[in-house]
Amino acid sequence: MAADIDHREVVPSLARRATDSVHRFFDGDVFYSFRRSPVAMAAFAVTLLLFFVAAFAPWVAPHNTDDVTTLNLMNARFPPWGFTDPFGTEGVAQFLLGTDDQGRDILSAMMFGLQISLKVGFASVILAAVVGTALGLISGYVGGKLDSVIMRIADIQLTFPAILIALLIDGTVAGLLPRALHQDLKVYVLILAIAASQWVNFARTVRGSTLVEKNKEYVQAARVIGVHPVLIMIRHVLPNVTGPVLVIATLSLALAILTEATLSFLGVGVPVTQPSLGTLIRIGQQYIFSGEWWMTIFPSLALVVLVLAVNLLGDWLRDALNPKLR
C-alpha cells in the first residue's frame, strides 16, 4: 500500500482516487454491513435486475413494443397466461402478463416503460446532484452574500413540494413553447422539472459538510500555500461529501421515479406513444371495472417494487455511512 500512497502524492488523479475508494469500499465497514444485511442485498439484487432489464429492454423484451408498427390490434386485451377474462378469453403463453387495449404485450411494455422511467429518474438526479453539489460547495466555501442568496433561494424552494414545482415548470414551458415542440422536448422538460425540484437537498447537505471541512487544518494549510480554491474544493472537500451525496442521490432517485410516474399519471408526462410506467397505469386504470385488471396491476407492481428496492437501498446506505445510527 505504501507504493500506492507515494504514487498518489505524485499524480493526484481522480481516477486513482476512485479505484482507491472502491478498494476501501470492499475492505471497509460499508461492505461488511452490506454482507450482513439480507434486506440490503435483496434490494440491491432487485434493483440491479430491474436496471439490467431496463437497459437491455430491446433485447430481453419478448416483443418490441417500442416500435408501434409491430402492434397488432387483434392481439388486444389478452389476459395473463393461465387466466381467463370476464368475456371468456383465455390468456396465451405468447403474452405472459397479457396485452393492453392496443395489443401491446404488457411485460414488454413494462420493460420499455421501466427504461423511460429510469432514464428520466437518473438524468434528473444526476443533473440535480451536479448542480446542487456545485452550488453547495460554492455556497459553503465562498460564504458571505453569495451563500445567503443561494440558501434563501433554497429555503423558498423548499417550501414548495417537488410535485408542484415540476408541474409548474412543465406548465410554464407549455406556455412558452409551441405545442408540437413541447411534445418533442417533453422528456427534457420533465428531467429539468424534476431536477429543479431536487437540487436543494444536495446543496444544503454539501454546504453543511463544506463548512465543516473548510475549517479543518489541512484545508487551511492548503489555502495558506496558495492552492487555487477550485482545486481545494475538488481535491479536499468533494471527497468528503461523496457519502452523503450518494445517500441523497439514492433516495432522490426513488423520489424522481415516483414524480415522473405521477406526472405521467396526471397526463403531463412523456407522450402516450412512449408509455412510461405511470402512463401504462393511467391507461390501464380505465379497465379495472370490467375485470381487465392486469393492465394496471402489473405496471403498478413493477413501479412499487422498483421504488421500494431503491428506497431500501438508500435507507441502508444512510445507516451504513452514518456510524452513529448503527
Partner: protein
C-alpha cells in the same frame, strides 16, 4: 420573542414577494394577456389600445405594483377558459381541498402518533416489525396507485364506498361542507386515507425515532431511577419531548398534503383546487396557474409561521437561546 417574530415575518414577506414576482412574470410574459384577449386576428391599433388600458405600457415596477395591489384585493384576473374571474373559481373550489387536507392531517396524526409511540416503546415486538415494514411499503407506493387500489377494493369489489366527488354538500354561509352528512363522510374517507397514508408513515417513523432517542437520554433514565412509573415516564416525559419535531414536520407536511391533493383529487374526481390547477395547466390557463401559485405560497408561509411560533412556545431551549441573545 418580538425579534424572533419580526425576523420570521420578514422572511415570510420576502418569500411572498419572490413568489409574487414569479407569478407576475408568468402572467405578464408567458401568458401575454393581449394575445389571449384579442386572439390572432386583433388589429395593431386594437392591441395598442388594449395595452394602454391594461397598463402594459407602464414601467414594469409600476405594473408589478398594480398586480400586487389587485392580488391583495383578491383580484387575479380572468380565467382564459370561460372568462370567469379566477377568484370566483378559487372560492368555489377552496372548501373541498381544505376539508380534504384537514381530514387527512387528522387521520395521519391520530393513527401515526400512537403507532410511532408503540413501535418506539416495543422495539422488538412482532407488531412493531409489521408496522415498520408496512410503513416502508407505504412510502414507496405512489399516491395514485394507493387510490386506484382502494377504488378497486372498496368501490368495485366490496362496493362499500363511493368513488368520486363530494356527495351532498351543505352550505354553511357560503362554505360548502361535506363534513356534516354521513354521505359526505362516505365520500371523503377514501381520498383522505389515500392522501394521509404517506404522512402517516412519515409521522410514525419520526415519532419512533424520537422516542428511541429520548428514551436513551439521561433525563429519562433519572426519571426511571427516581421510581416513577413506566406510564408516567413514557407518556409524561418521553412523548412530550417527541412532540416538538412532530409539530414541525406536521406543519411542513400540510404543505405536501396540499400539493399531493392534486393527485388524490384527480383519482377521486374531488372538485378541489388541485383539479382546478391541473386543468389550468392542461389549458395553459396562466391566470389560474399564477394565482394558484400565490395562494399556495401564502398557505405555506402562514403554516411555516405558525409552526415556528408553536416551536418557539413548546421548546424552552429555543426561548432560552433567544433570551440569552444567542443568534444562529
Amino acid at each position: 420573542m418580538l425579534a424572533f417574530i419580526v425576523q420570521r415575518l420578514f422572511q415570510a414577506i420576502i418569500v411572498m414577494f419572490v413568489v409574487g414576482l414569479i407569478s407576475f412574470s408568468l402572467f405578464q410574459y408567458v401568458g401575454d394577456p393581449v394575445n389571449n384577449m384579442l386572439g390572432p386576428e386583433g388589429s395593431i391599433e386594437e392591441r395598442e389600445r388594449l395595452r394602454e388600458r391594461l397598463g402594459l405600457n407602464d414601467p414594469v415596477p409600476l405594473q408589478f405594483m398594480h398586480y400586487v395591489g389587485n392580488a391583495l384585493q383578491g383580484e387575479f384576473g380572468l380565467s382564459y377558459r370561460m372568462g370567469k374571474p379566477v377568484d370566483e373559481l378559487i372560492v368555489e373550489r377552496l372548501p373541498a381541498t381544505i376539508e380534504l387536507v384537514f381530514v387527512s392531517a387528522i387521520i395521519a396524526l391520530l393513527v401515526g402518533v400512537p403507532m410511532g409511540v408503540y413501535t418506539g416503546l416495543n422495539r422488538n415486538s412482532w407488531l412493531s416489525r409489521i408496522f415498520l415494514t408496512v410503513s416502508l411499503v407505504g412510502i414507496s407506493l405512489p399516491t395514485f396507485v394507493i387510490g386506484i387500489l382502494m377504488i378497486l377494493i372498496f368501490g368495485v369489489w366490496l362496493g362499500w364506498l363511493p368513488t368520486f366527488g363530494r356527495g351532498g354538500v351543505v352550505d354553511l354561509g357560503g362554505w360548502q361542507t361535506s363534513l356534516l352528512t354521513l354521505q359526505g363522510w362516505s365520500h371523503i374517507i377514501m381520498p383522505a386515507i389515500t392522501l394521509a397514508l404517506f404522512q402517516l408513515t412519515l409521522i410514525m417513523r419520526l415519532v419512533r425515532a424520537e422516542m428511541l432517542e429520548v428514551l436513551r437520554t439521561d433525563y429519562i433514565k433519572f426519571a426511571r431511577a427516581r421510581g416513577l412509573r413506566n406510564r408516567a415516564v413514557n407518556y409524561g416525559h418521553a412523548l412530550k419531548n417527541t412532540l416538538v419535531p412532530v409539530i414541525t414536520i406536521m406543519g411542513l407536511q400540510i404543505g405536501s398534503l396540499l400539493a399531493f391533493s392534486i393527485i388524490t383529487e384527480t383519482v377521486f374526481a374531488w372538485p378541489g383546487m388541485g383539479l382546478l390547477f391541473l386543468q389550468g395547466i392542461a389549458f395553459v390557463d396562466i391566470p389560474v396557474m399564477s394565482s394558484y401559485l400565490v395562494l399556495m405560497a401564502l398557505f405555506f408561509v402562514i403554516i411555516n409561521l405558525i409552526v415556528d411560533l408553536l416551536y418557539y412556545a413548546v421548546d424552552p431551549r429555543l426561548r432560552a437561546e433567544h433570551v440569552g441573545g444567542a443568534a444562529h
